[in-house]
């Protein structure tokens, strides 16, 4: 993926992104770029807009102003002769196939077993045969260390296991970008490690990942870049080691002093 200047097209590019819910102005002009194969961490206090920004990337929320593109294509719009056309639901759904998302509260489908959760989208969206989808699903469950739980319903799994199934479910669509919305925040401390291990494994495989997280250890160890957001703007960004150890802004310093 290269443009005219032979420079890699950013996987995610945000220019002056604004988002408000009614009178609440959540995002106040976000500019950032995520390069392919990069692990991009978003940190910040709750209410700073990091989750909202993540949800904008796959159009679960509509942005109010600015431009947001994934792999060179605008999110939610088609540009033709300098005019923007809103995408139909079908087209939005088609773009989302390439973007995996992992939620804070897992959101597994409770009426399906683990393997059925993973198979669902390939069969229903891509039209893959059930046999081949099941085979791939079992491989993915094996990859996240849950091969023997394939026949269990989500209610029979621990939080950490559910989140790993959710990651496998997103991977089943073979996405080019994975979004993680505080994937370990709803987990017991002792279960966090298993989920982070799976994410590290993914990062090592070269997956492009945008991770909203409170796990500073993960950000430092695995992250390629890190952004500190507060009150709807990017306060500071850079390599995780630099931002976490030598923060330049007062706001970043006070936040890190509380969480580290």
């Amino acid at each position: 993926m290269t443009d005219k200047n032979n420079k890699a097209v950013p996987m995610v590019k945000a220019e002056g992104v604004h988002k408000s819910f009614g009178a609440a102005h959540i995002l106040k002009g976000i500019d950032l770029e995520v390069a392919p194969k990069e692990v991009f961490c978003l940190i910040g206090p709750s209410g700073s807009g990091k989750s909202t920004f993540l949800r904008c990337i796959n159009h679960l929320e509509k942005i109010n102003a600015g431009r947001l593109s994934v792999d060179g294509e605008l999110v939610g719009y088609r540009e033709h002769n300098g005019k923007l056309y809103e995408l139909r639901d079908r087209e939005v759904a088609a773009r989302r196939r390439d973007i995996g998302m992992v939620f804070q509260r897992f959101n597994l489908f409770p009426h399906m077993t683990a393997v059925e959760n993973v198979m669902e989208a390939p069969v229903q969206v891509k039209g893959e045969s059930k046999a081949s989808a099941r085979e791939r699903a079992l491989k993915l469950l094996d990859r996240v260390g849950l091969k023997d739980k394939a026949g269990n319903y989500p209610s029979q799994l621990s939080g950490g296991q559910q989140q790993r199934v959710a990651i496998a479910r997103a991977l089943a669509m073979e996405p080019k970008l994975m979004l993680f919305d505080e994937p370990t925040s709803a987990l017991d401390p002792e279960l966090v490690g298993d989920v982070l291990d799976v994410m590290k494994d993914l990062a090592a495989d070269g997956m492009t990942m945008v991770v909203v997280t409170h796990e500073m250890g993960f950000a430092r160890e695995v992250g390629d870049s890190l952004v500190f957001m507060d009150d709807g703007v990017v306060v500071e960004s850079g390599h995780p080691r630099d931002v976490l150890t030598k923060p330049q802004h007062e706001r970043t310093k006070s936040f890190l002093s509380k969480v580290l």
């Binding site: 409770p110 399906m112 029979q156």
Partner: protein
């Protein structure tokens, strides 16, 4: 995969834990309970005696239980119940989706429909359908069908439309409650995987909404079975109508009413059993382990062990 809670809870056979001496004490005597039980039994006995010695020809009831007219009435009652519920459920689902639609016209129309059909007694609605010939003299679906309204609107069709359209209003509210009960995260997760609105609704939301929708719908079916006795208003030959006809012809009016009550009880009991299994089916995944059905319990007792797990197989 089977997780057997019963087995895990039981102590291993070879090492019985030493039980301490159980407490020996004089239990509290509940004299009030004895008095209450005796009172209730006495009242029941009086009631039974009153009915048994009353001026009721009990022998007539078994004689007419399988009378062909009664059975025809029963068949018609079951038929109208099932068909009205089908109309009610299909139209109810459509109305529920219409009410949630972003289009203000469809949602308002759905609201108005529910307002009208829930706001008027079904008995009145049945009479209205019966007398709609005053408004429409002919029915004319150009190439297919043309007839006088009174010929077209048979008692059967009156009963079907009256009950079905009324039921749709109630089913719409039940379905709407079911759809809104499903966590929004489920829709988001499905959308994030690239599923369309329709697929999300069909594959993810509706199967989960069913768990909320099925129990009240079972009640609606049982209600419908009983409400269908109102179709006497449009002269449809249902169970109650047949019982009254037979009773009038044979001079056993009250006996036939009791007989009708017996048949209604049989039908509602059968429906209750069906509802139990339907609810169990849609409980998949919501509880860690499904309770055994009575049949499975009996089988397990016969085979002398609880080594079957229902959780994975239902």
């Amino acid at each position: 995969m089977s997780v057997d809670v019963d087995k895990a809870a039981r102590p291993p056979q070879d090492a019985p834990p030493p039980l301490p001496e159980p407490i020996k004490a004089v239990p509290v005597r509940h004299y009030g309970r004895w008095v209450a039980a005796l009172l209730v039994i006495a009242v029941l006995a009086l009631l039974v005696r009153a009915f048994a010695t009353g001026n009721v020809n009990w022998d007539a009831i078994p004689d007419y239980l399988f009378n062909s007219d009664i059975l025809r009435g029963l068949r018609n009652t079951l038929l109208i119940t099932v068909l009205s519920m089908v109309i009610g459920v299909v139209l109810g689902v459509i109305l529920a989706v219409m009410r949630q639609s972003k289009n203000p016209v469809t949602s308002t129309v759905a609201w108005f429909y529910i307002w009208f059909f829930r706001g008027t007694p079904v008995y009145v609605q049945l009479f209205l359908w019966f007398n709609l010939g005053l408004v429409f003299q002919y029915i004319d679906i150009m190439p297919i069908y043309k007839d006088e309204w009174s010929d077209f609107m048979t008692p059967f069709l009156c009963a079907l439309l009256g009950l079905g359209l009324n039921e749709a209003a109630y089913m719409a509210e039940i379905c709407r409650a079911g759809l809104t009960a499903v966590d929004e995260g489920q829709t988001e997760a499905a959308h994030a995987l690239g599923m369309s609105h329709g697929k999300t609704l069909r594959r993810i939301v509706v199967p989960q909404a069913m768990r909320v929708i099925v129990p009240p719908t079972g009640n609606e079916v049982i209600n419908m079975l009983k409400t269908s006795s109102l179709v006497i208003a449009v002269q449809y030959y249902d169970l109650l109508q047949s019982a009254q006809n037979v009773g009038r012809d044979s001079g056993v009016v009250v006996e036939m009413l009791i007989l009708a009550a017996v048949w209604y009880l049989v039908a509602t009991s059968v429906l209750s059993v069906g509802q139990y299994y339907l609810e169990r089916h849609y409980a998949r995944g919501s509880s860690r382990q499904l309770p055994l059905t009575p049949l499975q319990k009996a089988k397990a007792k016969l085979s002398g062990g609880f080594n079957r797990s229902a959780a994975g197989g239902a």
